[in-house]
Amino acid sequence: MSFLQLDQLRKSFGATQVVRNFDLEIEQGEFVSLLGPSGCGKTTVLRMIAGFEAPSHGAIRVGGDEVTHKRPNQRNVGMVFQSYALFPNLTVAQNVAFGLRVKGAGKAQRAARVAEMLSLVGLVDFGNRYPFQLSGGQQQRVALARALAVQPRVLLLDEPLSALDAKIRVSLREEIREIQKRLGITTVFVTHDQEEALSMSDRIVVMNGGVAQQVGTPHEIYSSPANRFVAEFVGRLNVLDAEVTDPATGRVSVGGTEISMGRPLGAGTVPLALRPEAISLGPAPGHDVSFRGTVDEVQFLGSVIRVGTRLGAAQVLLDTFNRTGRKPPRLGEELEFSFSSVGVILLD
C-alpha cells in the first residue's frame, strides 16, 4: 500500500469547486511534483495534506493512518513556504529547534539535531544569525532545515524556489533533491515551473482546473502526454492540423507532406504535435519524413539555435545544437527538414 494516499479529494470555496476528485498514491521516499498553471488548485491540494484546509469530500491517509480530520499540528507533516515564513524573532538555530522544543526535546538533544540540520543545508556557521541577516536562498534552506528537524512523515514544499533568482533556484533545487534522496523522505513539491518539475521529480502530476490530467514519470509526461493540455503545458510544442488521407492505415498529410501514423484514424482532420528537438535540419538517421521549408525565424540561444519554418499552415520551431564550424541558418534560406513519424504525438 502506498504511503501517502489522496482519495477522491474535493474542495469547494463557496460555489466554486477548486479541486475535483483528486486521486494520488505516493510511495514512501518518492518525490512527486504537482505541476500546473496558476489557480489550478496545487496549493489547495497541498494545504489539505498539511491540514490547513478541510477537504469538502474525500480522505487523506499517511502511512495507513487516516488524517483527514486531524489538526495540522497533529499530523507531523513538514511544510516549506514560498515566503520562507521564518520566525523573525528567533535566530536560525532557534528556528530550527522550534519544532523540537514544542515536542519537549531536551536541550542537548535539540543542540545536536540543530547542528546536524544546519550542516545538512550547509549553514553551520549561521546558527546565531537572525532571518533578516540572511539571503533569500539561505532563508529557504533554514526553512527546509526547520521542517526536517522534527523528522516529519511527509515533506510539503509550495513553490519554495519562486522567490529566488534564477541561478540560486537551480542550485537549490539540486540541493533539495539531494537532501530528499539522502533522507528518503516522502515529498510533495508544488511548482508551476515545468523545468523544475521535470528535473527533480520521480513522478509528476499535471493539474488543470482542479483535475489531475496525467500522473507519470517526467519522461512519460514529456514523451507521451495523455492529452492536449499536458502536451502543450509541458515543454514546447508545434501543433499541426493534419488531413487524414487514408483512415485505415493512418496516413495523414500536412501541407503536402505525408506522414504514416501506423494506426487506424477517423476521417477528417487530426491535431498532431511535434517537439522542437524531434525535428532536424537536413536528413538524419531514422527520420522517415522530410519536407522543404523557408527559414522565417532564427533565435540564437547559446548552445541551441531555434529555427522557425512553415509546414502547411502552421509555423514549426525546431531546436538544433550550435556546432562550431557550422554557420547558423539565415532568414529566408530554403532548407530541408526531417523528423521521425514515431516522434509525432497524436493529440485528442
Binding site: 490547513f52 515566503s83 515564513a85
Partner: protein
C-alpha cells in the same frame, strides 16, 4: 517670508504651546518661599505619605492594566486578523467606543451593574473594587492598545507564520506566546506608554469607585494648597516620563529589537 522661515515660526509656536505651561508650572512650583526660588513645595510633597501611597497605587494599577490589556488585546487582534478579517472594522469600532463614551458613564454603569446588591457584588470588597477599576482602565486604554497591536501585526505575515508553527506541532498558546507576542512587543510597548500615562492621571473612575489613586490625590491637593499642586504636576510629569523611558529600555532588550539595530 521664505518657506523655511514659516516652518520655523510654526515650530516655535508649537514649542511654546507645549513648553510654556510646563515652564510656567515649574517656575511657580519653586516660589513657595517669598522672594527667592526654593524646593520647599517639593519637600512638602515628598514628605506627604499620601503622595507616596497614591502614586505607588497608580503605578501598580497602570502595570496591571498593561498586562491585562495585553492579554486581552493581543489574542483578540491576532484572532481577528487570522480568522475573521471581515470583522476587523467592527472590532475596531468597538475598541473606539471608550473615546466616545465618557468615563463617567462607564463608571456609573459599573456601579449599577456590580453594586453590593447585584448579581456580582464586586464593589463590596476592596479587591473587587480594585479589579473593577483595573478593568475600567483596560477599557479606557483599549483604543490605543488595539490600534498599536493591530499595527504591529500588520508588519508580520500572521497567517503563514501561524501555519509554519502549526506544521511544527505548535498549539495556540505556543504560537501566541513564542511567535506572535514577541513580534508585536515593540508595538505593544507603544500602547503601554499611552496606557501608563492615562492611568496615572485618571480621575473619574478612581474618584467614583473611591480608590486611593493619584488622580484624586492631585485634585485634593489642587483644591487645598497653592504651590504644592504645581510641584506635584512637575513630579508626576517627570516620573511618568521616567517610567516610560524604563519601558523603552526594557523593550529594547528583546532579542529581536537588539537584532534589528545591529
Amino acid at each position: 517670508m521664505k518657506p523655511k522661515a514659516w516652518s520655523w515660526l510654526v515650530f516655535l509656536l508649537g514649542f511654546a504651546y507645549f513648553a510654556l505651561p510646563l515652564i510656567g508650572t515649574l517656575e511657580f512650583s519653586l516660589r513657595k518661599r517669598r522672594g527667592e526660588y526654593s524646593l520647599d513645595a517639593y519637600v512638602w510633597v515628598f514628605e506627604d505619605t499620601q503622595f507616596r501611597e497614591t502614586f505607588g497605587y497608580s503605578v501598580v494599577m497602570a502595570l496591571l492594566t498593561i498586562v491585562f490589556g495585553m492579554l486581552l488585546v493581543v489574542p483578540t487582534a491576532y484572532w481577528v486578523r487570522l480568522r475573521y478579517p471581515r470583522l476587523r472594522p467592527v472590532v475596531e469600532f468597538i475598541t473606539l467606543l471608550p473615546l466616545v463614551i465618557p468615563p463617567i458613564v462607564i463608571v456609573f454603569g459599573y456601579i449599577r451593574l456590580y453594586n453590593t446588591s447585584s448579581f456580582l457584588p464586586m464593589t463590596g470588597t476592596t479587591f473587587g473594587t480594585n479589579l473593577l477599576l483595573m478593568f475600567g482602565y483596560v477599557t479606557l486604554s483599549l483604543p490605543y492598545m488595539y490600534r498599536a497591536v493591530d499595527t504591529g501585526l500588520r508588519t508580520i505575515d500572521v497567517r503563514t507564520l501561524t501555519e509554519a508553527a502549526q506544521s511544527l506541532g505548535a498549539g495556540w498558546v505556543t504560537i501566541i506566546g513564542r511567535i506572535i507576542l514577541p513580534n508585536v512587543l515593540i508595538a505593544v510597548m507603544s500602547g503601554a506608554f499611552v496606557t501608563f500615562a492615562i492611568v496615572i492621571g485618571e480621575f473619574v473612575l478612581a474618584a467614583l469607585l473611591n480608590r486611593p489613586a493619584f488622580g484624586p490625590y492631585m485634585q485634593l491637593i489642587g483644591a487645598n494648597r497653592a504651590y504644592e499642586p504645581a510641584a506635584l504636576a512637575v513630579i508626576a510629569f517627570t516620573i511618568t516620563w521616567f517610567c516610560i523611558g524604563l519601558m523603552q529600555v526594557a523593550s529594547r532588550m528583546t532579542p529581536q529589537s537588539r537584532a534589528k539595530r545591529s
